[in-house]
């Protein structure tokens, strides 16, 4: 019998190594798998490359991981925010490397990795600093930039409901990067708020089929308030 359910977040990270590239879902607080990030801090892995839309807010979650000195490089679209003080300090001190990616290119590069696409041409970013040094091509009269897939060993995502096969649904805009990160990583760990008995998820409604998920762990719903930030994305 297949049972991808792990009893604790820390157990679900077993095998994660120093130097790993880890995708972490979420857009600001929505969809950020805070409990899995806490487990990652407890786990102790170092020299990580993190892929996330942001670079941490406040002092919790991703910010706490950065503060603990575990992150060597971050690939993201929107690091600077009013409450990104932990990242800001690490960046200014030269303790963290930043690869800034336009948000849509970030999403598409992640999806490309999951879909086995070797790279693609996108109009986004042409003629800007973020395209500097990248291959360009005129396609149908419009200039495009070549972007490469972003692969990862691990993805940590927050879903709403899951089952022992790893099927997932999400809740509202907490969906964001979860489905594509789950596809792109070799090992995806999903935290879910509800574990449902086998066969209860409607097959029309499953957003992430279990094939993309290696491990599932049930966690309590976050206390409200932690997820709200006032900055742009």
């Amino acid at each position: 019998m297949i049972d991808k359910v792990f009893s604790s977040p820390l157990d679900a990270l077993e095998g994660l190594s120093d130097g790993a590239t880890i995708m972490i879902g979420g857009f600001g607080g929505a969809g950020q798998p805070t409990v899995l990030i806490d487990a990652l801090i407890e786990h102790g892995a170092r020299a990580l490359t993190i892929v996330n839309n942001n670079a941490g807010n406040g002092e919790m979650g991703l910010a706490a991981l950065i503060k603990a000195g575990r992150v060597q490089k971050i690939i993201c679209s929107f690091p600077r925010q009013s409450d990104s003080q932990v990242f800001d300090a690490a960046y200014r001190a030269g303790r963290i490397e930043l690869e800034l990616v336009a948000q849509g290119n970030l999403a598409e590069r992640i999806r490309a990795a999951g879909a086995g696409i070797g790279g693609f041409f996108t109009p986004t970013g042409f003629g800007t600093e973020l395209a500097r040094g990248k291959e360009t091509r005129c396609i149908d009269g419009r200039m495009h930039v070549f972007e490469q897939p972003i692969h990862a060993e691990w993805a940590l995502v927050m879903a709403e409901t899951g089952d022992r096969w790893g099927n997932l649904t999400y809740r509202k805009t907490a969906r964001n990067f979860g489905p594509i990160m789950a596809m792109a990583a070799r090992k995806t760990v999903a935290s879910v708020h509800q574990l449902t008995p086998p066969g209860m998820l409607d097959p029309e409604v499953i957003v992430t089929p279990g094939i993309f998920v290696r491990r599932v762990v049930q966690v309590p719903r976050m206390a409200p308030g932690l997820a709200i930030h006032k900055e742009a994305a």
């Binding site: 948000q103 849509g104 970013g125 999400y170 969906r175």
Partner: protein, 215 residues
């Protein structure tokens, strides 16, 4: 001669932009000034607001106490969903943008050039930590990209320029500029004045703008 004109207020600018958004349009309102447009859209028109974090059919802010932390906009503020709305993931959301499915995107700007280049993400200051978010995707994605901004900086310098000095967000992407002094159209052969605020003659608008404007 005394010039008797008043700049549009932020709400007046938002109202002016809203006037041009037709029934049935799919629209993304960027962070900052453009978010004010939402409240100026007439209730009589059905317009779908897109938020790049995976939301179409965005409604107003919830009542206090009704916030749902899984339902936020691109500015990470709690919002609501209107009937007819839908959720989707980030790759699908940016496919909507990049694929040209949005009718209109309204963005703030630091600078717009006469050929429609947009600079709105980065001051280029050497010590600034850059952050781009969805700005570049929004700028190139919609059928029409409109800019909503003050015409002049606080120091009175024109934000409409011959060539952007700030780092670009996208090249030749802006179709219209809704500023507090005028509405301008980017024609491909320079800027055309659609309208100026009452009492502001073209030659004065021209002088303030510092770039050639067509009547």
């Amino acid at each position: 001669m005394t010039l008797a004109y008043r700049k549009l207020s932020r709400i007046q600018m938002a109202s002016r932009v809203a006037r041009d958004i037709p029934e049935g349009a799919y629209v993304n309102l960027g962070i900052g000034l453009p978010t004010l447009v939402a409240d100026q859209l007439p209730m009589s028109r059905e317009i779908f607001l897109h938020s790049e974090n995976g939301l179409l059919g965005m409604g107003p802010a919830p009542d206090p106490g009704e916030e749902d932390h899984d339902l936020i906009n691109a500015g990470k503020q709690p919002v609501t969903l209107l009937p007819g709305g839908a959720y989707f993931h980030h790759a699908d959301s940016f496919a909507m943008m990049r694929g040209g499915h949005l009718d209109i995107c309204v963005l703030g700007a630091f600078q717009v050039s006469t050929n429609g280049d947009l600079a709105n993400w980065h001051t280029g200051a050497p010590d600034a930590i850059p952050a781009v978010g969805g700005a570049m995707d929004l700028a190139i994605g919609a059928k029409q990209t409109w800019v909503m901004m003050e015409h002049l900086t606080r120091d009175g310098v024109s934000k409409i320029v011959a060539e952007c000095s700030y780092p670009l967000t996208a090249m030749a992407c802006v179709a219209r500029i809704y500023a507090d002094l005028a509405v301008l159209e980017v024609t491909g052969a320079g800027l055309r004045v659609v309208e100026a605020v009452d009492g502001l003659p073209l030659d004065e608008l021209q002088r303030l703008s510092g770039v050639p404007l067509q009547a």
